[in-house]
Amino acid sequence: MVGYLFLAIVIFSIVAFFVGRAAGNRFVTTEGVTTHSLPGYHGAFVAVWVGVPAFVLVLLWLLFQGSVIDGLLFQSLPAAVTEGVTSAQRSLILSEIKNVAAGRIFAEPSPEIAAAAETLNRWQAIAGWAMVVVAVAVMLLALFVARSRLSPRFRARNGVERFMMVLMVFCSVVAILTTVGIIVSLLYESFEFFLLVPPHEFFFGLRWEPQIAIRADQVAGQGAFGAVPVFLGTLVIATIAMAVAVPIGLFTAIYLVEYASERVRSTVKPIMEILAGVPTVVYGFFAVLTVAPAIRNAGSLMGIATSPNSALAAGGVMGIMIIPFISSLSDDALRAVPRTMRDGSLAMGATRAETMTKVLLPSALPGIMGGILLALSRAIGETMIVVMAAGLIASLNINPLDSVTTVTVQIVTLLIGDTSFDNPKTLAAFALGLVLFLVTLGLNVIALTIVRKYREQYD
């Protein structure tokens, strides 16, 4: 029904547009006076008046209908059912009612629940029709009001342009709303988490065993939320990734800038772009299927014990993924060094290698460092490779052949499956997410600042 309602709003707006444009046309042709706006703007003015309020109304209605009905429904339940229930039990009761209402009955529901389900169905039908009626009424009213305002001297274009401006401002604020949404939701859930687990335990604890019981009758650990092993594991894998990516990426950039002919450049650059465009889930599968067994076989050939999901496999493949970032950012930085410096060095008799190491690299160093920091932030935030190839158990070691876990792996494993928002297991994921967000944000800000400062030197 909601889909049809949106369709109806669109059709109404189109009709309104033609109504308004016809009016505008009449002003031009019959009344013989100069109009302020073109007929199309009259049409657009009416269409905006008809469509936008109704659209916003329906969106808000849909947003709040569920929670309002839930609240009313819960109040309508007999006190015997609702007395002293926690929020988790409350949502359990509500979801049972909804299941019964939708006809998904597993066991004979209690009479209160069955009655409530019937009420729910009735209310939902009423709410749905009420929404349609209100929306149509609003549209008709708006059509009437907007149409009555049209006149030859009416400034329809200014009205439409004012609306467009508001729309554009709103769209650019979406970016801020997203950031605010991220920060608020992470902070809120983390705050809940820190009420259950004290922050010093989270930041300095050495034991991470989040698999705690969700139901009372489950057999599970007591839970320990010391995130140091997780942070350490992330660091180990990111370090391995950088150890692979920085030399390869940097030497690639040096070769492309200083030695490569135009033809080599134009073939190597797209290949690097392919490397950057491969989805991370593909790298993850590559790590599991090819790299991890290869490392294991090599390890057993040399008689070294290696874990099947070693940090080396995950980190190494992550390094491959990051090569293109480092190479293209270093390439840009090296290229931004003024040509006169390079030519001056070559003219003094320096070889190309000397020019590179003594002139270009030092002056491009801030840019390259910025690129490396950006790549590091990507490595820390990268998820799929480590989810598929790294371990799940947080152990406090830095042996690259052993299995370690990372922040992103823990977020994914904690949030897949049972998610109820009032136990520390789920909330811990948000606390980890907050740390991840802040660390990557910090790295990005530092990197961008370094890059910007450096650019100003030559501009």
């Binding site: 401006m165 769209c171 970016a175 030497f251 492309l256 989805p279 590559f286 290698a353 998820t383 998610t419």
Partner: protein
């Protein structure tokens, strides 16, 4: 004077100087070789990646089928009610006609394993669609079960000792008998594209994942394209330079670098928890992907708007157009090819994005394609993740095949972007 020249020429021809020069040139060559080495390693790794996927995946594009005639007797299937017959018996009778009779229940079970587990349902659907075969016989090409598919493709080796492989010698003998009769074929595996997910590798396909990804990308496009263009136009053309717009710009640059999993947390906490949208729905996936694609689209749109020369704007202003008319009627249409190119590249990134979709539950096991944006569904990358996690042998090849399909889609999208850039983009 001439002494000085002499001493310089002596100093650059002396053995010492030549040794020094050789050393410096060697260092130069070394750096060049390091560069070539680095590039070869990178390209080699990409080659290994693609090669392993192609070798692992090509087998999943064909599927072992077995042609069997099933006698549809009226004892097993009631002509009045064909959907509720004893199709297990029908399948067994079909096999019994070709193979020596089973001597024990265990042997019967081993024989049942040759055909896919869902054979009885395949036969039932065929009979329900065509009830006239009841009382006669029905010939069908039925997919072989995963282990026999692997055997046929040579992944399960006959040379392996019997206790180490999942098919017994007896089963191999039966299968060989079927091969001898010319009943085994390996046609192109259309099921890979037209079946939804399944617990059985021989039946699992990507239809659900492709539809889910399509819906998610559609939502992503419908949100991020208009919002991105409007935001970029405002920031580039109309926004005053003040602290607010600076804040928005810094924000957009930072959003582009936020790890994708954080967007998944946002989707989980806001779209699912607060707004109450359904889990696993392409709608939520598309909304999260839209937020991630938005910075990309805003950045490319601003660059495309910047590239339109001022003469166009000045001419339009000269004709009396209002600032919005200048942008809407002239500047935006001229920059549209650039915007479209960037949008397609942004959507291609969104198509490959996995982590946020995992958090909002698009890794569910769902055996039918979604009917709309509110139905539970998987997406291509999450389907690959699910298959990569599945223990059955056949899923290894399916995963590689799924990846090849995903890469194919990415390749097509990028090719369209390149085409648009070359054909439509104007240079001033």
């Amino acid at each position: 004077m001439s002494e000085a020249v002499q001493s310089i020429s002596a100093s650059i021809t002396s053995d010492e100087a030549q040794a020094r020069r050789r050393r410096r040139n060697a260092a130069d060559t070394r750096l060049r070789l390091y560069g070539i080495g680095a590039i070869s390693i990178a390209i080699g790794l990409l080659g290994i990646l693609i090669l392993t996927l192609a070798i692992g995946g090509y087998q999943a594009f064909v599927q072992t089928h077995i042609r069997i005639q099933f006698p549809i007797s009226t004892e097993n299937v009631d002509p009045e009610n064909p959907s509720e017959g004893n199709y297990r018996n029908v399948v067994r009778e079909g096999l019994a006609a070709l193979l020596p009779p089973a001597e024990s229940p265990a042997q019967q079970r081993a024989m049942d394993q040759i055909l896919t587990n869902n054979t009885q349902f395949i036969v039932r659907n065929a009979v329900v669609a065509n009830p006239s075969v009841i009382g006669g016989a029905l010939t069908l090409e039925v997919p072989a079960s995963d282990i026999f598919d692997q055997l046929n493709k040579g992944v399960v080796r006959r040379a392996t000792p019997e206790q180490n492989r999942r098919v017994t010698d007896q089963q191999i003998a039966w299968f060989d008998a079927l091969v001898e009769e010319g009943r085994v074929s390996t046609p192109f595996n259309w099921g890979l594209f037209f079946n939804a997910d399944s617990r059985f590798p021989e039946l699992a396909g990507l239809a659900g994942a492709i539809t889910g990804s399509f819906y998610a990308l559609l939502v992503c496009f419908l949100i991020s394209f208009p919002v991105g263009i409007a935001a970029a136009t405002y920031l580039e053309e109309f926004a005053p330079k003040n602290r607010w717009t600076d804040l928005i710009e810094v924000n957009i640059n930072n959003l582009a670098a936020v790890p994708s999993i954080v967007f998944g947390l946002l989707g989980l906490a806001v779209f699912i928890q607060i707004f109450g949208l359904p889990r696993s729905a392409p709608l939520v996936g598309g909304m999260v992907l839209a937020l991630m694609t938005l910075p990309t689209i805003i950045i490319v749109t601003r660059n495309a708007l910047k590239a339109v020369p001022p003469s166009i704007r000045e001419a339009a202003y000269g004709m009396g157009a209002s600032p919005q008319q200048v942008i809407l009627h002239h500047v935006l249409p001229l920059s549209l090819p650039g915007i479209l190119t960037g949008t397609i590249i942004g959507l291609a990134q969104a198509l490959g994005e996995t982590a946020p979709l995992l958090l909002i539950g698009m890794n569910a096991f769902i055996t039918s394609p979604p009917g709309g944006i509110m139905d539970a569904s998987t997406a291509l990358p999450t389907q690959i993740y699910i298959w990569a996690d599945s223990p059955e042998r056949g899923f290894v090849a399916r995963t590689s095949a799924g990846i090849l399909v995903l890469l194919g889609f990415l390749l097509i999208m990028n090719a369209i972007a390149v085409f648009l850039r070359q054909r439509l983009e104007r240079r001033w």
